[in-house]
Symmetry: C2
Subunit: 266 residues, 2 copies
């Protein structure tokens, strides 16, 4: 059998039409994706099985990652896990993100005025990634949201982005499948498209427990001063607290913030 990298499972699902310029790097980076909150530690064999790559290849790649601090070997379990270099890079990214720095004070203000949690997220392919959270005064236990990936079609923040995105992206999201998270999730194309239309008319999105049961969110898009869509803000809280009148109030506050931010983002 003639070996071809494109026979391998790891590539088939990832590459659409663009082949990576440096295939060995691409393969290596794909391995890191197998480390997630559900599986923070993995073994060579496990990764080999998951990725379809040979044990020895996985070993060589992990060794190199380890040498660079991207992967560490857990001393007690003997398994591999993500390394502290990731934290260092993350700190660089987080502490130098100028957009986030501009936006944060406005988020804080809204969080205080509304006494609910405000999130900032940016699109990343067909998903969104949370980049910052502002918590209302008095919130003690706030789990870390920075870096968390979520669906675009069933979060307030995601739908605010999607509603103002190109048709191409909407179609990609739909094609990827609208997996229901709760019984409220808009899991068919028509319902989602109608909701996006309503979002555009209102100027803000509503996520009524579509992602998480009992949580209601309001989202608004963030544009820069040349009108380009950058990301979105949302405000979330328990559905029992976020009643219809609150939704309107929250949306106003978010839109005020978004308008002010618009003038500051290049």
């Amino acid at each position: 059998m003639v070996y071809s990298v494109y026979n391998n499972e790891w590539l088939v699902c990832k590459v659409q039409e663009n082949t990576p310029k440096v295939k060995s790097l691409y393969k290596a980076l794909c391995l890191l994706d197998y480390f997630n909150s559900d599986h923070p530690e993995r073994g060579i064999k496990e990764l080999s099985d998951l990725s379809g790559m040979l044990k020895s290849s996985v070993y060589n790649i992990l060794s190199t990652f380890q040498m660079c601090g991207f992967i560490e070997k857990d001393s007690s379990s003997g398994k591999y896990k993500l390394g502290k270099k990731i934290l260092t890079l993350s700190n660089v990214l987080y502490s130098t993100d100028s957009a986030k720095a501009i936006i944060k004070p406005y988020m804080d203000k809204v969080a205080e005025e509304c006494s609910e949690t405000v999130f900032l997220a940016f699109p990343s392919g067909t998903d969104i990634i949370y980049v910052e959270g502002s918590y209302p005064p008095g919130v003690l236990y706030a789990r870390s949201i920075v870096g968390v990936k979520a669906e675009m079609y069933c979060t307030g923040i995601g739908k605010a982005i999607l509603a103002y995105s190109d048709e191409a992206l909407i179609q990609m999201v739909v094609d990827k499948g609208l997996e229901p998270f709760t019984s409220f999730t808009l899991s068919d194309e028509k319902a989602l498209r109608e909701d996006l239309e309503k979002t555009r008319q209102r100027g803000y999105s509503i996520d009524n427990m579509e992602h998480e049961y009992g949580i209601r969110c309001v989202g608004v898009p963030l544009h820069n001063n040349s009108g380009h869509l950058m990301g979105a803000l949302s405000i979330s809280g328990p559905s029992l607290r976020v009643m219809d009148d609150k939704v309107v109030f929250f949306a106003e506050k978010l839109q005020e913030a978004a308008n002010e931010i618009k003038g500051l983002l290049k």
Copy 2:
């Protein structure tokens, strides 16, 4: 001229005796190190000059990183910067670090009892990397410390680690050079070694403005229940507030915490 990867500058300084198993991956990962707080954005030519790699190679590598979300192209500057995939991986690491989760409550307790900031750091080569911070009640503006890298020889937390490390590591740190950060930095080997000896006798380290002028720290090592050195805790504050009697009190509180943690870390 016969091309050899080892002629290139990027490798010479990095690899001691171990050559990376996957050279192309190693080279690519080295490029990411050029993105730091002082230079969050860089161009192809710039990276090519810095690394000694060809423009086209840098381009191919960055394209691949970009495809995987590790690098993004800034829309306004046109330059490359770290991508949001880093945040996602960082969140996985941060939210699944069991050692940190165990230690955090003890840090919070000490921070409250002492009304000063408590840090947790782990060794990473000849440096330390901060992994968590606990701030006393009332501190509003706390810069993000997670992932920050610092010197081992001139921080309280670093010297607590170094004092209980193998001679091999101490020698490596010394050989790397004891660059002075302030006029208080112990920048010659003898002074540092004496200080480490004192640290071992006391059971805690003192950083008297050696890293940052006006800041004094106390550090204690963290061992697991089999006696293996894991990392260190420190408590820091303005020198005017952290007087000699406070130093002793802080050290006691940190040691109490370290003792309790010891029983919990595998």
